[in-house]
């Protein structure tokens, strides 16, 4: 078949540009389909052209997508951060791109202060602020340690970490344990209630979960298939970022038999089960490292324009791409728009924060909103908005993830693998479902909503990818 069968009969036409041609074709009775083309939203046209013509791109993106889709995720251990991470004695990990204390937002400062108090590095808020400002405590992004953390993402050496492994690549990823809702460290709260919970998590929850996970594996059971739970959640009304109800219950169901088998006081076992069962976001800290495993597997593919990271530190939004390695492209974090708890309002919300946008980078969360119509009660909008959001995201992505099927869309795979070039060409930015932390340190969560990355990140990434393509 020559020219793809072009000459075999009257061709169907797909047209981009001025209408007169399509109108003339329709007048002839031709089959014409106009796309709604508009000038790219950003990016030097020369850069767009270089990337469009980069002969490495198609194959590189295919490789990146294949690795992403192939990655699995199983729960292999629960360990203190100091044992599994390259985390220094006085180091705190945080969400998002690199950050200096003086640029940190309220909730990030609150969480860092809370972690210093929790670790006993400071005995007062003032002391904590001093050692953080002086640089005595080092700050480093979670993402630099194969780790992700929701909201402030602050991870300290004594915190227990979910340890996940990709059986395909052998990669590992980590995330701390979710504290629940309300006044919590990740939202920037650090009062006694927060400290007490963190200590309980350190002394009771972590050890029990660790023994449960290890005990089950030692007894010859397969490790828990976390990716499998994520896939099932989407069939049960969760989107895996801001709605984790079904996933949390499924995770608890998987863990419960081994939890009750742990040799610990029954009051502790009961407290652990109550805590996990009472936390709608218990699963989030398992879902995030699952996404992280898949995106780390897709790293370092020269010529690929696919995102491997979207992440925010409360001040800046940062992205990385498979074609540009560990380089961050950043812009100012936007403030989410959504619904507020109690009488909090938009003026109380901090700019976007958290590594949890790894879920959207993986193609769930905001990208799979259609699977979770109930979420609009939490983040705002209507059910058709939720469906339309997922529909729109297909135009930004390179693939559909067959493992993450969306029932209401005829079990179509979720839109996966965000392409910087497509973002520029369509002018649509990725849609992220997110929690909102209070602007003032110590407040906690004030609401939930929708947010998009700043365009600047994508502008920089596009220019860097084009530069790499020119010199390739």
């Amino acid at each position: 078949m020559t020219l793809g069968g072009l000459l075999d009969g009257p061709p169907a036409i797909v047209a981009a540009g001025v209408d007169v041609f399509s109108d003339a074709l329709r007048a002839q009775g031709a089959d014409v389909h106009d796309v709604e083309w508009r000038p790219p939203h950003f990016g030097d046209p020369a850069d767009l052209a270089v990337l469009a013509l980069d002969r490495r791109r198609a194959a590189a993106n295919r490789t990146a997508v294949e690795r992403l889709l192939a990655a699995g995720s199983v729960l292999v251990d629960v360990r203190p951060a100091r044992e599994v991470l390259d985390i220094g004695d006085r180091m705190l990990l945080h969400s998002g791109p690199p950050l200096l204390w003086e640029n940190a937002s309220g909730p990030m400062r609150g969480a860092l202060i809370g972690a210093c108090l929790f670790e006993g590095w400071a005995s007062s808020v003032e002391d904590a602020e001093k050692i953080l400002a002086s640089g005595e405590v080092t700050l480093d992004p979670c993402h630099h340690h194969r780790t992700v953390g929701p909201m402030a993402g602050v991870t300290s050496p004594s915190m227990w970490m979910w340890c996940l492994e990709d059986p395909v690549s052998g990669g590992k990823a980590y995330c701390n344990l979710n504290e629940g809702l309300g006044k919590v460290l990740r939202m920037g709260a650090f009062n006694d209630e927060v400290q007490e919970r963190l200590r309980w998590m350190r002394d009771v929850l972590g050890p029990v979960l660790s023994k449960a996970v290890r005990g089950s594996i030692d007894a010859g059971n397969d490790p828990i298939d976390v990716k499998g739970i994520l896939a099932q959640m989407l069939q049960m009304g969760d989107e895996g970022h801001n709605r984790n109800r079904a996933g949390s219950l499924m995770a608890l169901r998987e863990l419960s038999p081994s939890i009750v088998a742990v040799d610990a006081p029954s009051s502790d076992i009961a407290a652990v089960l109550k805590f996990a069962g009472g936390n709608e976001h218990f699963f989030l800290n398992l879902g995030m490292p699952t996404a992280k495993l898949a995106l780390d597997a897709a790293r370092d593919v020269p010529g690929s324009t696919m995102l491997t990271v979207m992440s925010r530190n409360g001040t800046e939004f940062g992205i990385q791409t498979a074609g540009t390695g560990d380089r961050w492209f950043t812009g100012p974090a936007q403030t989410p728009v959504g619904l507020f708890l109690g009488d909090y309002g938009p003026e109380d919300a901090n700019p976007d924060i958290g590594d949890s946008a790894i879920m959207e980078t993986y193609g769930v969360g905001g990208f799979a909103m259609a699977a979770a119509p109930a979420i609009v009660r939490f983040v705002g909008g209507t059910v058709p908005d939720a469906l339309a959001t997922t529909e729109r995201m297909y135009q930004l992505t390179l693939a559909e993830n067959p493992a993450m099927a969306i029932p209401i869309m005829g079990f179509r795979g979720s839109p996966t693998g965000i392409d910087v070039l497509k973002v520029a060409r369509t002018g649509w930015l990725p849609q992220i479902n997110t929690g909102m932390a209070g602007r003032v340190a110590g407040t906690g969560q004030v609401g939930a909503g929708l947010v998009q990355p700043p365009q600047e990140c994508f502008e920089q990434a596009l220019a860097a990818l084009a530069e790499a393509a020119r010199t390739a």
């Binding site: 020219l3 000459l7 009969g9 797909v14 003339a24 790219p40 469009a52 013509l53 507020f340």
Partner: protein, 480 residues
């Protein structure tokens, strides 16, 4: 939470919570001073309202009730999200049959859309101009590797299995395939073939630069191979403006290896005549060459010392005219001259845009179409030029092309006839008008209808541009 937001916006309302009575929400309500007096369980709806006065409170409670009673009207179906790129549009179409992408976006953005089509294994017609030549080469190489064709950029004319794309004429289906690096050239050839009773299988435009040194005939070679393999195509003709000699040789060599016979309608000083090429093809096919349709017009003689003023909308037709006329007339100045020293810079806003002497202008040249439609659609500049020729005291013969078909002015004679009549009335000297009318009877405008109208205004009308040119030369009294 949505109800909370609506009610909180009411005047006089100082605090609202409408939420499931979860421990978190109960705590939030307590902090707002709205804790329920009785114990609440998470499956219950917690409604707390604080207001400045009883009136505002009553209004808020009513608003809560209204909001809760209101059922969501939406059906749960998403609005359709139109695709924004060629890649998206092609992916959305599940047809396995022939498909073609058409790109007419601004040139700097055309590459990405065309690359989408190639990546999807589809051929693409790029109407856009202003595409850098290195991008054209990259696209055509990628298309070659993918086994598809890039028609263009700046490709205005094509016919694929009877579907006319851009500026093309209604011609009968038949055995002749055209590969055209020239839009109006392809229109002239396909229209003359139609008038001789011969149809075309396909007209594959390849863009005006395809036979340049830089592009090296990449699309022409692929189009030739495709037509060679096409069962509907029995003969092929290559139509082009004067090409780079080395590329012409490459194409000729490639054509010689094909099983389908290939005839050249590639313009050069030695082969200046598209009509002659068509006649050669007809003879190859064992067919009689018809008398090409014409209308005699007023047939008055030009004034002594008259010069040729050729005002063209088709670049290839302008080239053909200059190639035919130059041996008789000598130097012809042009904005698209045969040799650089004859270049005529044109300022479309200047009233007196003509140098004295023989001039041929291509109003379809990119420099004259910036910010305005092609002269086949918008005749303004050319009408002004006609008036300018009439106002000049230099005696002249006016030679024009009028191109019919899809995409062209629905009634070009409608605008030309009054302009020509006015010009002929106003001119100091007799002003003979000769028109090359490129089209077919089947065109929306109808060849005869247009020809009759133009002839009634005193113009001599020819279906063949070379015949029109030679007639103008006769009027000028120049020896051929």
């Amino acid at each position: 939470m949505q109800v909370s937001r609506t009610v909180a916006a009411l005047p006089g309302v100082t605090g609202v919570i409408v939420a499931m009575a979860t421990p978190l929400n109960l705590e939030l309500a307590t902090n707002m001073g709205l804790a329920p007096e009785e114990a609440a369980s998470p499956e219950q709806l917690l409604i707390g309202v604080a207001a400045e006065d009883d009136e505002a409170l009553a209004a808020a409670v009513a608003a809560v009730e209204t909001a809760l009673a209101e059922r969501e009207r939406s059906t749960g179906s998403a609005e359709a999200i139109p695709q924004r790129t060629i890649g998206g549009g092609l992916a959305e179409r599940t047809t396995d049959g022939p498909a073609l992408a058409i790109v007419s976006v601004p040139g700097q953005y055309a590459v990405a859309e065309a690359a989408d089509a190639i990546a999807a294994g589809r051929s693409v017609l790029v109407f856009s101009d202003g595409v850098p030549v290195e991008h054209e080469v990259a696209l055509k190489r990628a298309a070659h590797d993918a086994g598809v064709l890039v028609m263009g950029p700046d490709c205005g004319t094509a016919i694929v299995s009877g579907v006319a794309l851009g500026f093309a004429n209604v011609v009968r289906p038949g055995p002749v395939g055209l590969v055209a690096a020239s839009g109006t050239g392809a229109q002239q050839v396909s229209c003359l073939l139609d008038m001789a009773g011969v149809g075309v299988s396909h007209v594959l435009g390849v863009g005006g630069r395809d036979l340049s040194e830089a592009v090296g005939g990449l699309a022409t070679l692929d189009a030739l191979a495709a037509l060679d393999a096409d069962p509907a195509t029995e003969r092929v003709m290559v139509v082009s403006k004067p090409p780079a000699p080395s590329v012409a040789a490459t194409v000729e060599a490639a054509a010689a290896t094909l099983s389908v016979p290939v005839r050249s309608a590639v313009l050069s000083a030695e082969t200046p005549d598209l009509t002659a090429a068509v006649e050669g093809l007809l003879r190859d096919m064992g067919l009689d060459v018809p008398v090409w349709p014409s209308r005699p017009g007023a047939a008055e003689a030009a004034a002594p010392g008259a010069v040729l003023k050729g005002l063209y909308s088709g670049g290839t037709l302008a080239d053909e005219t200059m190639l035919i006329a130059a041996p008789a007339l000598g130097e012809i100045r042009s904005n698209t001259p045969l040799s650089p020293h004859l270049h005529l810079a044109l300022d479309p806003s200047a009233q007196d845009q003509f140098a004295p002497g023989h001039v041929v202008i291509d109003f379809g040249d990119d420099a004259l179409t910036v910010g305005r439609a092609h002269p086949m659609i918008d005749p303004t500049l050319r009408l002004e030029a006609i008036a300018a020729v009439a106002a000049s005291d230099e005696p002249a013969v006016l030679l024009l092309d009028v191109v019919l078909g899809y995409g062209a002015d629905p009634d070009p004679a409608g605008a030309l006839v009054p302009a020509l009549s006015a010009a002929r009335d106003a001119a100091e000297h007799p002003l003979p008008v000769v028109i090359a009318l490129v089209g077919t009877e089947g065109d929306p405008q109808g060849w005869s209808k247009q020809a009759d109208a133009l002839a009634a205004a005193g113009a001599a009308v020819f279906a063949s541009n070379s015949a029109a040119t030679r007639y103008a030369l006769d009027l000028l009294g120049a020896a051929r």
